[in-house]
């Protein structure tokens, strides 16, 4: 917040007098995500985690290269692709060469194309796009480009891990797939059906449906169908209010099997699920906070909690993003030549503070890492979320998940 305000003032001033603002020593990282509007909570939490990671992992260790510090600047895109593109331009004009974004595949798709075009048209001010959470497989497949790096596992990889776990659970015979009616929701559903069929053809998909995104006020009718179908497990890619609404409604209407989710924790959701979600909500994610994997991780989390008592480290990949960027800059020996930094990132193997390894696959700039299935509970939770007594505890780990997953990416390198 502090930095946002200060740099905002500078940027506006430079805008008014029409001067360029590329003078600082710092390595600037532009964070373009919603900071106002309905999805502001996720965006603001992400910004806090990024600022903290930059501070804790880089700046407090003396920075990179010759003591250059990471400086995170927040830009509010209001979840709008249009605003994102405007803010991208503002960020580039401020001398920012690293763009971090995660919320919303629509925004990510708009940004990756805009950055690709920008870099082609303006070789002097090229930027890299570090995507920490937009999971649309297209970003590392048909829409891939040299400037985009994804530090999260994509939707298919997460589904691969999720179905691995489901396949091993013999009590699951019937699965219900439900999601939001848009590209990501459809991708999740398609992946679930095809992968379940491949791994456990005896599992019956008793329901597969899409509901309007962000428009459903009451999920009861959907829950009724799920309960009536006799499903043993539910798979959903829902996020935000749609996740909470669906989850609460399913449980309330008498379902007690596991609900496998992509985005079922943090941002107030863990607190809101509370007791009702215990033992029901399963989350597919990368990175473990419970049980604490390493001492380093515990120190990191404790420091974060001291700074943001109400915040969660619910996206460990953000710290990986910062760590890997710092490594790449060190390796390239420059922060200004983003092509060199990108080349350093390609194929990098990185030991995370969370006790696992991340490999940036050069073919499609997709991070390969462990994927975990976490359980929402209040037992044995060291680090709880949302100032509640609940948190997510690791239940199963898929090592270096989908390392060989195919990609259609035809990377064009400069």
């Amino acid at each position: 917040m502090k930095k946002t305000t200060k740099l905002g003032a500078v940027s506006a001033l430079s805008l008014v007098i029409g001067a360029s603002a590329a003078f600082a020593e710092n390595i600037k990282i532009g964070f373009i995500d919603p900071l106002s509007g309905p999805f502001a909570s996720t965006g603001a939490n992400g910004l806090h985690q990024l600022e903290f990671a930059a501070d804790y992992m880089v700046n407090q260790n003396g920075g990179v290269l010759d003591g250059d510090m990471f400086e995170v600047i927040g830009f509010d895109n209001k979840t709008s692709p249009k605003e994102s593109l405007i803010q991208l331009q503002v960020a580039i004009d401020q001398g920012i060469r690293y763009i971090v974004q995660g919320n919303g595949s629509a925004v990510a798709l708009a940004l990756t194309e805009a950055i690709d075009k920008h870099n082609r048209r303006n070789p002097d001010s090229r930027v890299l796009f570090l995507n920490y959470a937009a999971v649309d497989p297209a970003l590392t497949n048909e829409k891939c480009n040299f400037w985009h790096f994804r530090f999260d596992a994509n939707a298919d990889m997460k589904m691969d891990a999720m179905t691995d776990v489901i396949a091993e659970d013999d009590s699951i015979k019937k699965v219900y797939v439900i999601g939001q009616d848009y590209s990501f929701g459809k991708a999740v559903a398609d992946a679930a059906v095809s992968m379940l069929d491949e791994k456990r053809s005896d599992i019956e998909v008793v329901g597969n449906e899409l509901h309007p995104i962000g428009k459903v006020k009451d999920f009861t009718p959907y829950s009724r169908k799920i309960v009536a179908s006799g499903a043993d497990a539910v798979i959903t890619g829902n996020w935000g209010a749609d996740m909470l609404g669906l989850g609460k409604s399913i449980i309330e209407n008498g379902f007690d099997g596991p609900i496998y989710t992509y985005y079922g924790a943090g941002s107030g959701m863990t607190a809101a699920f509370g007791e009702t979600g215990k033992g029901v909500i399963r989350l597919v994610s990368e990175g473990i906070v419970n049980p604490p994997p390493t001492e380093e991780a515990s120190a990191y989390y404790d420091a974060f909690s001291a700074k943001y008592p109400e915040g969660n480290v619910d996206q460990t990949r953000i710290s990986n993003t910062v760590g890997m960027l710092a490594e790449a800059i060190k390796k390239a020996g420059t922060a200004d030549d983003v092509v060199a930094v990108a080349k350093a990132l390609e194929g990098m193997e990185y030991q995370t503070i969370w006790g696992s390894k991340v490999m940036m696959r050069p073919e499609d700039h997709q991070a390969i890492q462990n994927i975990n299935i976490l359980n929402h509970t209040d037992e044995d939770v060291t680090y709880t979320f949302d100032s509640s007594t609940f948190g997510v505890v690791n239940e199963a780990t898929v090592e270096m998940a989908s390392a060989d997953i195919a990609t259609t990416c035809e990377m064009k390198r400069p």
Binding site: A40, P212, K217, P221, K225, A228, G254, A271
Partner: protein, 318 residues
Amino acid sequence: MDLILVNLIDGLVTGLLLFMLSAGLTLIFSMMGVLNFAHASFYMLGAYFAYQISIALGFWMGLLIAPLIVGVLGAGVERYGLRRVHKYGHVPELIFTFGLALLIEELVQFIWGKNQMPYNVPDILNFTAFAISGAAIPAYKIFMIFVSVAIFIGLLFVLTKTRVGMIIQAALSYPRTVEALGHNVPLIFMGVFGVGTALAGVAGVIAGPVLGTFPGMAFVLGSIVFVTIVIGGLGSLWGALVASLLIGWITTFAKSYNIEMENILNGLGISTPENLDESIFRDLWSLTSPQIADILPYILMVLILIFRPAGLFGKRST
């Protein structure tokens, strides 16, 4: 089928909740001509206030006090805001409520932050009332039905049996005449606005625990409330009730049964194109009723406005 009965109950809950919002709005709209875009914001305020009160005094005090606060706030908005704008005409009034909705959302975020609030069903109601062939009906839903019906009966009683109600009914049809008879129309406006927003507050209090208490809850509700009162006919309480229930049931049933467009079209004698994936109408063919359930009320509204602009129960053209 048993599911029909379950859906009837679920649709009833949705419809009655909608009714609590639309009842106030239809009175406000038909009396004052104000398209109150901030109505859903008062619903949100109801939920947040109730959450805050429930932390200290429990759910029941929240149910009692929160709507009162919302109503007083609403009356204040009418007295110090809308009344001032009223003389400029209806478009400025509408813009005023628009701006107010924006401001309330921002204020809520300012005070309570951006996350969802852990506002939950009280323990005493947190059990399954009964189950119909495996589908659980939570006790809280029964409670919601009771509250809504009680409010409807109360409202009907006030409007038809009391002196104030008579004046309001007269003011609905002939505002100037009522003024000429020496009634204090501005005071009635303020009262109606206050009561209308308090009703929205009640809806927020009881809906918050099940539908979620978050800054976007007013936005998610959106314009469906306007759709309800237009379908029902402006100024008609019965119309609002019928339209609310209609919308509740239509959306519930559309979501509960996967009616596929392909079946409908085939039924109409149109055969599925061979290579569906390449057809430009492929999205139309793969349409299912749950996908469009929430836009059905809008289709219904447009059709009604084209063929019966007064709405189902309206006496005059909107």
